[in-house]
Subunit: 161 residues, 2 copies
């Protein structure tokens, strides 16, 4: 009977992989110059959203108990700070490389988690709060980060290349 | 052991409900006049995306084997046809009512599905194709439709009220 759980985890991981691939394919289609295009006049650049997704997805490592973030230095540029407020953004080539490396590492580490792990609490919820609301588990974080990619893919689709 | 499967289905349904609520809350905050605003100059109006999400989510009924669509007449306005190509769009009040009614019916019918149902093939995949790729199941359709809401929520966030 446990294979139901296994099937469901695999489905969620496949869904994650599909979203990472869609975003990767989108960014790969754009030249470094095109990454400077905004999703709408005066709004975020594609490059900013690429950095934002790397910095956000990097948090999955500590949140899922899989280690430290790989690129904590990206937070100052791409998390909770609007685009075009800094003068020294990382170059597109650097972000492309970090995208690849991070998502390959995430895939490797996700593969080490069991169903029990996925249903255990994520690291930013206390044991007390988790006892009250057991849906605050690691799989929920994965679903939420998958949806977060989709949210920004919708915006990236507006870029007029 | 089967309770793993149950927990995972509940998590996916909660994730769906959360996305429906976020979209509902967004549309409720906008006046009928504000629903005419575009997500970016010349792009889809918020009203169009509301109709698009109703028409798309309505397909969950036949796809999950839960009955016929409630509002097939919306397809001609909101599916595979760009915004602003018709002259007689449904009024905001009508769409608000259909949004509420549809999502309440979906929630009721989702509650009747068992884990076995969620892992069974959705109705647009043949038995042969499902045998080759068993991830083409009903839960996968739900995950994909959840992500679809998020995709358009990202665009709606760009509306400048």
């Amino acid at each position: 009977m446990t294979n139901y759980g296994q099937q469901l985890i695999e489905l969620s991981l496949k869904n994650w992989d599909g979203h990472v691939k869609r975003a990767h394919d989108f960014f790969s289609k754009l030249s470094d110059e095109q990454l400077e295009l905004e999703v709408a006049p005066g709004r975020n650049r594609a490059l900013y959203l690429m950095g934002h997704l790397i910095a956000s997805n990097d948090y999955l490592l500590p949140l899922l108990g899989l280690g430290e973030r790989l690129y904590p230095e990206l937070e100052a540029y791409f998390i909770r700070i609007p685009d075009k407020t800094k003068t020294d953004y990382p170059l597109a080539a650097e972000l492309r490389e970090k995208w690849e490396y991070l998502h390959a590492r995430l895939a490797e580490r996700f593969a080490t988690l069991t169903i029990e792990d996925w249903l255990s609490r994520h690291t930013s919820v206390s044991e007390e709060d988790f006892a009250i609301n057991p849906t605050r588990n690691k799989l929920n974080v994965l679903l939420s980060r998958t949806s977060h990619i989709s949210y920004h893919l919708g915006q990236l689709a507006l870029v007029q290349v």
